[in-house]
Structure formats: structure tokens, C-alpha cells
């Protein structure tokens, strides 16, 4: 066995500092919370994306656990191979296999591989860090970019209010596959996040977690507001947090005391700046309607 350094975790974290995420990056925080909740007995396969790039710049790595990055679109398949290898070698109990990546890596380009791995029923925990665009490459639109967000490939402009489609309901889609456990959580709700991570880890088969992780660079909010913005997404009804077990919704995070207007969430973010110029009033109403529909559908608030 090839030994390349041994180290004691820093500050009891399984994700070390020195990574090159932007200051205030919600994803870097979420990754640390996830790993600490899982403990050291994991093997992680990670898609290309911010998380990978800011954590594994040769010769340095922020990962205190065994970790592999192969490509952007194949992470669930790589994890399938790891899971099968552990089985074949009688090492199933050695580690929880985690496949993780961004919204782009999992919900767009890697969605075929994800769907296949779930369909086959591998015992893998899939985690999507949802920052709602391709951030690593400079804020391009993904399938999880929200309606009307301005990105570099769905820019606001003379004939455009930004992204023309709403978020791909990827958690629902995964649940429709028959995955035993699907949950949506947020870095703004760390206890919810930790609970769901640990619950998922205890379930056999494919389980799926989607974590909302604000990105100060891509969303254009102050670095200090990462947690606040994440909470506002939930409190406006724009980002419902829920669990689905065997296809049925089994819990939601309720809005208290009552839903905030979507403007509270949109205003601090540069990606929605164009919605506060004259002529965009209708657009704001459409976004409020999305929130209202979420509140109705997931019963986030009974007012």
C-alpha cells in the first residue's frame, strides 16, 4: 500500500480548511456538515464542479476521507462500481458509499447515470448540492436554475427576463423511480440537514438528498448572508424542504410564523436584480405564484 501522508483532522472536521471556495460559500459549509454527520467510514465519489475544484487541487486535498473524482457526468456510475467492489470483496461494512455533485452534475449531465444507478438499486447515498447553476464554470443556467434568474447563458436582456423555465423537480423525479428515501434540505437548516443525512445513511438501497446551498458569487449576495438567504428561500415557499419515503411525502419543514413575500428573498440577490426594474411587475407575480403553489402542494403553511 502506497502511503501518502497521515494526518489528524483539523478541528474535528472531516473536511479541512485551505480549500479555495469563495468566502461565504454555502456548498463548502454543507460539505463539511454532511461529512461530519456521516463520520469517517465513508467513500466519496464526487462530480466535477465547484466542490471538487476547490477541494482537490494537486497536491492538496481537503478531504479527510477516501475520495475520488473521475468526471462530471459519471459519478453515480463510479459509485456503483465502488459499491459493487465492496460487495465483491466482502467489504460492504467498511464504508457508506456517497456519490455527490452539483445540480448540474447530478440533475443535468449526470442525470442518466443517476437514474440508472437508482434503477439498479445500489446501496448509495446520492447528494446534490443545489446552488442553482453551473457555478464552477461561471454561473451558467442549469435545469435547477429558478425561473427568471439571470445567468450567463440565460441572461436578462432586451428580450429576456432570465431563465425561462422553473426548477426541474429532481427530488420528485428520483422519488418516482421508487427510491426508498428522498429528502430536500438546506444549509440554512443545519439540524434538518444533519438529521436527514443520518437518516439516509441508515437506509439500505438508493437514497437521495438535495441540499440548497447559496452561492454568493453566482447569486450576487453578500458573503455574510449565505445562511439568511437559504432560510428566506424556505420561508418564502420557494424552496420547500421535505422527505419522501417510498414515494410518499412523510415530512415537511413548516413555514413560521407565516410566509414572507418572495421579494424578501429575491432582492438581496443580483441574479434577480432585473426584476426590480420597471416593467417586471408581472414577473414578480409569477414567482409569487410559484411560491404559493409550493405552499399549497407541500402544505408548508396552513394560515
Amino acid at each position: 500500500m502506497y502511503q501518502i501522508g497521515v494526518s489528524q483532522p483539523y478541528n474535528n472536521n472531516l473536511f479541512a480548511p485551505g480549500h479555495t471556495a469563495c468566502a461565504g460559500c454555502g456548498q463548502s459549509l454543507a460539505a463539511r456538515l454532511v461529512l461530519n454527520a456521516l463520520g469517517p467510514n465513508v467513500i466519496v465519489a464526487n462530480a466535477t464542479g465547484c466542490l471538487e475544484v476547490f477541494s482537490s487541487n494537486f497536491p492538496q486535498s481537503s478531504w479527510e476521507v477516501p475520495w475520488i473524482h473521475s468526471l462530471f457526468e459519471n459519478t453515480p456510475a463510479v459509485a456503483s462500481g465502488i459499491e459493487a467492489a465492496l460487495k465483491a470483496l466482502g467489504r460492504e461494512d467498511e464504508a457508506i458509499v456517497v456519490a455527490q455533485g452539483g445540480d448540474g452534475g447530478f440533475a443535468d449531465i449526470g442525470f442518466g447515470a443517476l437514474s440508472g444507478a437508482i434503477e439498479r438499486g445500489h446501496n448509495i447515498l446520492f447528494i446534490v448540492y443545489d446552488n442553482e447553476a453551473y457555478m464552477n464554470t461561471g454561473v451558467q443556467r442549469s435545469g435547477l436554475t429558478p425561473f427568471d434568474a439571470s445567468t450567463t447563458t440565460s441572461p436578462a436582456g432586451g428580450c429576456s427576463f432570465g431563465n425561462p423555465t422553473d426548477k426541474k423537480p429532481v427530488a420528485q423525479i428520483v422519488a418516482a423511480h421508487g427510491a426508498p428515501y428522498v429528502a430536500v434540505t438546506s444549509v440554512g437548516y443545519y439540524r434538518d440537514l444533519e438529521r436527514k443525512v443520518q437518516k439516509a445513511a441508515g437506509i439500505k438501497g438508493p437514497k437521495f438528498l438535495q441540499i440548497h446551498v447559496p452561492c454568493p458569487l453566482g447569486w450576487g449576495h453578500d458573503t455574510s448572508l449565505t445562511i439568511k438567504i437559504a432560510r428566506l428561500a424556505v420561508q418564502t415557499g420557494l424552496y420547500p424542504l421535505f422527505e419522501m419515503e417510498n414515494g410518499e411525502i412523510t415530512s415537511v419543514v413548516k413555514i413560521t410564523p407565516k410566509p414572507r413575500p418572495v421579494e424578501d428573498y429575491l432582492k438581496p440577490q443580483a441574479r434577480f436584480r432585473h426584476l426590480f426594474k420597471p416593467g417586471a411587475e408581472e414577473e414578480l407575480k409569477k414567482i409569487q405564484a410559484i411560491a404559493d403553489e409550493n405552499i399549497r402542494r407541500y402544505k408548508l403553511y396552513e394560515g
Binding site: 479555495t20 471556495a21 469563495c22 468566502a23 460559500c25 475544484v53 476547490f54 487541487n57 464552477n136 454568493p216 458569487l217 458573503t223
Partner: protein, 182 residues
């Protein structure tokens, strides 16, 4: 040929500064090239860009290893990174700093150092802490490698409306500041 290296941090407009310099030189009737040195650097991480300005077409496309000029957008880089590497003896260093040139510690005494409180000026005139047009204005005043008119034209080319106007104002202010100060 004049070679310039610009140091700063992700998010401070280093690439824009290089672009503006190249456009300014072009406006002055020279040939120019601006080359950002990209990594996967994110907001806050150190970044560089290179500018070449010449009377003739520039063919060399490497990084700049022996600059004639250094523009340092963020004084906190000094000491933390070897930003003076390769700077020609007698080369100019323009630093965004509140300090006086003498207060800046640089090993050896081989360079000509100037400072300009660009972030403060930016906050005052532009109401945003983006120092690049101010530094370019100061650079023009200090070195004459580009003209003030060129700088202003580059700003008009790159920005528009009120933002352009204010940046022109800021650049001119800095230009005059260093002219006066010399």
C-alpha cells in the same frame, strides 16, 4: 515593447484592468495585448493579468515574466506572495494603498514605487470598492505608457452611461493626483 503585470484578487477586476489598458493603448494608436492568467480561482484568491503594449504587432503570447511595470490592486498581496518576481531593475510598481511608498517594505531597493489610495477613491467617487479604473488613470499619469485620453476612451468603450462617466472622473482624478504628487 512595454510589459505590465497586474496583481489582485478574484473579484477586484484585474482582468478588466488589463483589458482597459489594452484598449487605451489601442486608442493611442499602439498595438496591445491583454492576457489574463486564469486558474479556477474564486473571489478572494490571488490572480494576475499581463499586458503588452508596442508600436508593432505583438506576436509573443506567453505570460509576462520580466515586466517593466507592476500594478498591485491589493496591498495585502505584498509579502504573502512573491509578486515582485522578475520585475526589471528600475521597474515601476503602482500599489493601491493608503500608505506612503516609503512605508511599503520591498526587499532590495531596485524599484520605483508609487501608491494611490484607489479603493478609497473608488468608494468616494464610484460608491463601490472597485479600484481598477483609478489605478489605470494613475498608471497613465505615472508612466505615460498610455494617455489619459486613451484611458478615458477605454472606459467609454467598456462601460456606458453614468458608470462610464463616473469612472472617467475617477481615472482623471487619479491621473491628476499622481501628476501633482510627482
Amino acid at each position: 515593447m512595454k510589459e505590465i503585470r497586474i496583481h489582485g484578487r478574484g473579484g477586484q477586476g484585474v482582468v478588466t484592468a488589463a483589458e482597459l489598458l489594452a484598449i487605451a493603448a489601442h486608442a493611442d494608436g499602439k498595438y496591445a495585448q491583454a492576457i489574463p492568467s486564469f486558474g479556477s480561482e474564486r473571489m478572494g484568491a490571488p490572480v494576475q493579468a499581463f499586458v503588452r503594449i508596442s508600436e508593432e504587432k505583438i506576436l509573443m503570447r506567453t505570460h509576462v515574466y520580466n515586466p517593466d511595470f507592476l500594478i498591485v490592486q491589493d496591498a495585502t498581496l505584498i509579502g504573502a506572495y512573491d509578486i515582485f518576481s522578475g520585475l526589471k531593475d528600475g521597474g515601476y510598481v503602482l500599489i493601491n494603498s493608503e500608505k506612503k511608498p516609503e512605508e511599503i517594505k520591498i526587499e532590495g531597493n531596485r524599484f520605483r514605487v508609487a501608491t494611490v489610495p484607489a479603493t478609497r477613491i473608488a468608494l468616494e467617487i464610484l460608491q463601490r470598492p472597485i479600484p481598477n479604473t483609478i489605478l489605470i488613470g494613475a498608471f497613465a499619469g505615472l508612466t505615460g505608457v498610455v494617455t489619459l485620453e486613451g484611458v478615458k476612451e477605454s472606459i467609454r468603450h467598456r462601460f456606458s452611461g453614468e458608470i462610464a462617466r463616473k469612472n472617467e472622473e475617477a481615472a482623471e482624478y487619479a491621473y491628476k493626483l499622481v501628476k501633482g504628487g510627482q
